[in-house]
């Protein structure tokens, strides 16, 4: 199978420290470790190691480490070893290369070339430890005009909104691609934080209906688990048109992951592939999208905001303009560095555009057309830290989606093997013995810790800028400066170069 492909990692065991307790063997779902009764020693099959650090973390004597192999091909700048190995894999199998999580390629990260402002002397900074800082936001269409009734009193003409204690949400990850305990962790954390998590396209497990006010339910082309009660269960309904990691293609959860509760929640027979076609077969135009938006509004009695999620692609600004005119209340834009539970490698690494450029151009386009307040904009696709989050807000996002960061909080080590279903950390797996390794109480607590820390960082940066409400940061590009960028990049981002 892996003819010619040398193992990428080497398991290094310190024999002086190893007590052959076999914990590594029990912990590894990839069956890397084995005890040799003849020698009384542990052995390792490097070829199976995915470098997930489960054994390293749980080794009681810290006897293990994983290193990158220094085995090499003859150096060749045009043909790095990775490319050569990919050719071998495809020649061996005839298969499409399949990967997980966001692209690991060294694409430019514009967030890292953007710097934030702070106040000095005039317009003094605000100390968030002493003074109130407002991070609450409401996502949805904002009415353009005040209406009064015959008695002159204000008429409430506000369409439904998603209230959030801070402009952050956990983005869509389906039950099936991640585990029950991962969903439980996200749901509990979202409720504790006053934000939302997103079911993804796999339906909503019956146990999680109580978290409805903190849930966004997704409708994708496969329509898995979609029914009337599901649509009413959440704070909003999201139509998935695209995903940043795999724009233009659908989803495919293999039959071996469709068992028990996953099958019941998706409402398909166990063992059957869950295929989400690339297009919604009833959507071929903005008018068709409008029809799905309005049929969902009708099915929810106009009580739920409708989000339309699109991948960041070349003409994203024009597409977003169309989406804003479709009646959607919120547009979610997913940048191409965003994560996935499984995507063809070539699509993940080469299709789409960075979220920073997409977000800035969408925000500018909607403003130009005078329809910016008709929709809220959620940006996702690799928000790695509060710094990325703050910069995205200043580039025009009403809120941000995070997923990889949330999974890291749950114990993910970014080994990028989600598609194998053998996640040793109990996240991207349905194997009961692995799922139970993730304790949802501890998981929720870690998520709450992470998000609270980010919220505090947001407040500190806002305070430094002399801003005491996050809504005053949204689209506030004067708070941003670029470094090491061309004029064209600066123009698209709508920011000035540092020093100007």
């Amino acid at each position: 199978m892996d003819l010619y492909v040398h193992p990428l990692f080497e398991v290094v065991r310190n024999e002086k420290k190893c007590v052959a307790c076999r914990a590594c063997e029990r912990q590894c779902s990839n069956c890397v470790h084995a005890y040799n009764p003849d020698t009384g020693e542990m052995e390792a099959d490097d070829s199976k190691c995915v470098n997930c650090h489960r054994c390293v973390s749980l080794c009681p004597t810290k006897a293990l480490k994983i290193i990158l192999t220094d085995h090499c091909f003859r150096p060749n700048a045009n043909w790095p070893g990775e490319n050569i190995n990919e050719v071998y894999k495809q020649a061996n199998s005839g298969g499409v290369l399949l990967s997980s999580m966001g692209t690991p390629k060294p694409h430019p990260v514009y967030f890292d070339r953007i710097l934030l402002n702070a106040s000095q002397v005039t317009n003094p900074p605000i100390d968030p430890l002493r003074e109130p800082m407002e991070t609450r936001v409401f996502l949805g269409k904002k009415s353009q005009k005040l209406e009064r009734n015959a008695e002159g009193q204000l008429v409430d003409n506000l369409t439904p909104q998603i209230p959030l204690t801070m402009p952050l949400l956990f983005s869509a990850m389906s039950f099936g691609s991640i585990s029950y305990n991962a969903h439980a962790s996200l749901a509990r954390a979202a409720a504790a934080l006053g934000i939302c998590y997103n079911t993804g396209e796999g339906g909503l497990h019956a146990d999680f209906y109580p978290y409805g006010p903190h849930t966004i339910v997704q409708v994708a082309s496969g329509r898995f688990g979609v029914h009337g009660d599901y649509l009413m269960a959440g704070a909003a309904v999201e139509i998935k048109m695209g995903q940043g990691a795999k724009p233009g293609i659908g989803g495919h959860l293999p039959g071996h992951k469709i068992a028990g509760d996953v099958a019941r929640t998706r409402m398909i027979p166990p063992g059957s592939d869950a295929i989400s076609p690339a297009p919604h077969h009833d959507i071929y135009s903005i008018e068709d999208l409008r029809q799905l938006v309005y049929s969902l509004k009708a099915a929810t009695g106009n009580q739920k905001p409708i989000i339309v999620k699109i991948a960041a692609v070349h003409n994203v600004a024009a597409i977003a303009s169309g989406v804003a005119r479709s009646g959607a209340d919120i547009i979610a834009i997913d940048g191409f560095r965003g994560g996935t539970g499984a995507a063809p490698t070539r699509i993940r690494d080469h299709v789409g555009i960075p979220i920073e450029l997409a977000l800035a151009s969408v925000d500018a386009r909607l403003r130009e057309e005078g329809i910016r307040d008709d929709v809220s904009v959620i940006a996702g696709g690799s928000i790695r830290s509060s710094a990325d989050w703050i910069k995205a807000i200043a580039l025009g996002a009403d809120a941000c989606y995070i997923a990889t960061g949330a999974l890291l909080a749950l114990g993910c080590h970014l080994c990028r093997q989600c598609h194998t279903g053998l996640c040793n950390w109990g996240i991207a797996t349905q194997r009961p013995d692995l799922v139970k390794r993730l304790n949802p109480e501890i998981g929720a607590e870690r998520l709450v810790n992470l998000v609270h820390a980010w919220q505090h960082e947001l407040k500190e940066v806002m305070g430094g800028m002399g801003i005491n409400s996050v809504e005053a940061l949204r689209g506030n590009r004067l708070m941003l400066r670029g470094v090491a960028m061309t004029q064209e990049e600066l123009d698209i981002l709508g920011i000035k170069h540092a020093g100007v």
């Binding site: 894999k89 329509r223 029914h227 295929i275 049929s295």
Partner: protein, 244 residues
């Protein structure tokens, strides 16, 4: 029984009225293409005179019944999970998209992409019956449930479906009246004559339901043999990928 004159109502006014009347027996007269009628409603009976617009009975819930005295337009019964829709006429494109339960009976023909990605789980087993013929891509990505096409508008020897019937199907069954082979069947689809037990247990109950709904003698509907289309595999793409 409550009658609504829809002649001067837009889709939102009509939708608001229907939601307020959920659970009742409702008659809509002078229906003029209003969309989303009955969207998500449970245990509600709606009889429609005139022409309902797109997405009729989308996400329809258990215990509901919609009868259309006329033609339906596109996306009828989109993602419906229960109840029934009976169309005394033809349906447009994408009828029964993502249906996961309930029954849809179309007296005449359906447009392109009918019954796409229908699916089943346990007791939820959707059925789509088309009396006339269906356009291209019938039952594309079919994942469960049953589609029956009677081809009453086609002479013997002419298949009652268009091209690419069942593309990507990985569950469910399609029954076609007659023995004419559909044009350009994709490789995922295995075609066989329907077995006698399938005729008895799966086809005849639907035929009787159709005959009763539209007042057609059942014998007329079973005067030709039936073909059965099923997927070659429930996991059509499992060999497509290599771990990277």
């Amino acid at each position: 029984m409550i009658t609504i004159d829809a002649g001067s109502l837009d889709f939102e006014q009509l939708g608001d009225q229907l939601r307020r009347l959920a659970g009742e027996e409702i008659v809509i007269e002078r229906c003029l293409g209003q969309r989303y009628i009955g969207s998500g409603l449970k245990n509600t009976n709606i009889e429609i005179y005139g022409t309902p617009g797109n997405a009729l009975g989308a996400y329809l819930g258990e215990g509901s019944r919609i009868v259309v005295h006329g033609n339906a337009q596109d996306a009828t019964g989109d993602t419906m999970s229960g109840g029934s829709i009976v169309v005394h006429g033809s349906a447009g494109d994408a009828a029964g998209y993502g249906m996961r339960g309930g029954t849809m009976l179309v007296r005449d023909s359906a447009g392109y992409r009918a019954g796409i990605h229908m699916k089943q789980y346990g007791q939820a087993y959707p059925a789509l019956v088309i009396g006339g013929s269906a356009g291209n891509f019938l039952g594309e990505y079919l994942a469960g449930g049953v589609i029956l096409v009677l081809g009453l508008d086609r002479p013997a020897g002419v298949a009652p479906v268009g091209r690419f019937c069942g593309t990507g199907m990985h569950g469910g069954k399609i029954f076609l009246r007659g023995d004419a082979i559909p044009p350009e069947l994709p490789p995922q689809v295995a075609m066989q004559p329907a077995a006698p037990e399938e005729l008895e247990a799966e086809i005849l109950p639907l035929v009787r339901e159709y005959a009763e709904a539209f007042g057609v003698p059942p014998a007329h509907l079973t005067d030709r043999p039936f073909l059965r289309l099923m997927p070659n595999s429930r996991n059509p793409y499992h060999n497509m990928y290599v771990n990277n």
